[in-house]
Amino acid sequence: MALLEVSHLDVGFNTQLGSVQAVNDVSFQIKKGETLGLIGESGSGKSVIGMSLLRLLPMNACVKGEAFFEGKDLLTMKEKDLQKIRGERISFIPQNPTASLNPLLKNGLQVSEVFERKGHSKENSWKSALKVMERLMIRDPGLSAKKYPHQLSGGMRQRLVAGIALSLQPELVIADEPTKGLDSLTRGKTIEFFKHLEGDEDRAMLLITHDLDLAYEICDRLAVLYAGEIVEMGPAGELMDLPSHPYTRGLIKSLPKNGLIPLEGRSPSLLELPGGCYFGERCCHHKKECSCKHPQLKNSGAWQTRCHLN
């Protein structure tokens, strides 16, 4: 049985200009110990999916669908029940580590307060915090714990935030863009760190990223998002080597090492999605059917594609 089973997830935001449909009919599963990557460009709805699972979205969000975690629906359960799951069994590593840490609290305290909240004594919490920091490959945890966030490098802050999220040994971790804006050395270390996490026990991970290399190295399966819907999902290695959806192909071709060939045009406005294929206008294999009929996800084994051409 899958650890997390998301089906027909829709997220809309009510704004002055109308409803922005950020996520459309997204379904996926994550098994125990599996790492699923959500990839796609900014505005494709990746982060919104991650946040909606833990109900962290602002008030104007309208979430529909189901997200079963061990048989219970995260989206409809009581807030009180969700509080027992959030942070403890499913945790979230936010996008911007610098903005996610309290600049006025020492690093160690920010980890140990997680344990204090669970009723541990101050002293024990501090000890547990040091252990967590040690496990996360933070050099000299005793010294780092007494420093403030601004005294750490970007990569160390990233690990500290991950440490806070992982301190209670959650079964599922949602990591949002862990490598954005990091330099190649720090990025390499972060990838190594996530690999290390992945190898750890049977923890499952939902990795949200636009860093295709990171996704390729860490994930078991990948789901490619475009305009709020999954256009392709399959095993990570095969999907990156032999992508079948034109959007995935375009995305991979736009990497500097693959020739820096940009996708023409822009993704459609989420206020007014086109009637046919959302990618139709930018697609070089466009045919008549694409502009009138919206393609459905087609299964072929472990692979799913949303395209009229396949």
Partner: protein, 258 residues
């Protein structure tokens, strides 16, 4: 007695291909920390030099020094043979429009309280003696050049995506016909596909206007795709400058993508 001939040779080579920018033994300390240690390099017209290094290696400080945003402790920055660091205010104000910079974080590069059109028009109003109609038509031309739509002009920076802001910045910069642009990680906060669009746009602008770029990045893949030469910088000094054989000409790239 052996050293002088070598130096002479260097200066002869120098005369043969005029350098746009020459940086000579630039050094800077922040109290005890040596940020730059005798950094020297030069840039020809219409060339792209990449500057590669990890965070804290001093690449941004070099870029900012060249833009006179940072004052080095010693060294020379020659722009067409004249030292920028020895110029008086008046001379600088004449050279300044020819030197421009693209910053890493698009979201903080434009005044949040100004509409995009006002941000783009500002340098034209300050530096060029144009009528209202001329400014309007110049803006239209710039927007076409960088691939923004007229509706973007009416928006505020927070209503644009990162890629759109970098386009607006390029329009703003190009309006002054610069000779030299320092691009400090212009695409590190952008998606792969948007990054490709912006890098292509920068190459196209170079092709059209023969501008020279100093391209600062921590992504070697990006540098290999766009630079003629790449300088590797470590702890404030340049370790090596290598020709980049992987860069293909713009014409070749356009042919490939068609």
């Amino acid at each position: 007695m052996q050293a002088p001939p070598a130096q002479k040779q260097w200066s002869v080579a120098n005369q043969m291909s005029p350098q746009l920018i020459e940086v000579k033994s630039l050094s800077k300390d922040y109290s005890r920390l040596k940020v730059l240690q005798s950094v020297s390099f030069s840039l020809k017209e219409n060339e792209t030099l990449g500057l590669f290094g990890i965070s804290g290696s001093g690449k941004t400080t070099i870029g900012r020094s060249l833009m006179l945003l940072e004052k080095p402790d010693s060294g020379e920055i020659l722009f067409r043979g004249k030292d920028l660091l020895k110029m008086n205010k008046k001379e600088i104000s004449l050279v300044r429009p020819k030197l421009q910079m693209i910053f890493q974080h698009p979201e903080t590069s434009l005044n949040p309280k100004m509409k995009v059109q006002d941000s783009i028009a500002e340098p034209l109003i300050i530096h060029k003696n144009l009528s209202r109609e001329e400014i309007h038509s110049e803006m239209k031309r710039l927007m076409r050049l960088v691939g923004l739509r007229p509706e973007h002009l009416e928006r505020y920076p927070h209503q644009l995506s990162g890629g759109e802001i970098q386009r607006a910045i390029l329009a703003r910069i190009i309006s002054l016909e610069p000779k030299f642009i320092v691009a400090d990680e212009p695409t590190s906060m952008l998606d792969a596909s948007v990054q490709a669009q912006i890098l292509r746009l920068m190459m196209k602008l170079q092709n059209d206007t023969e501008v020279t770029y100093l391209f600062i990045s921590h992504d070697l893949d990006v540098l290999r795709a766009v630079c003629d030469r790449i300088a590797y910088i470590e702890a404030g000094s340049i370790k090596s400058i290598e020709m980049n054989e992987e860069k293909r000409s713009w014409a070749e790239q356009v042919r490939d993508s068609e």
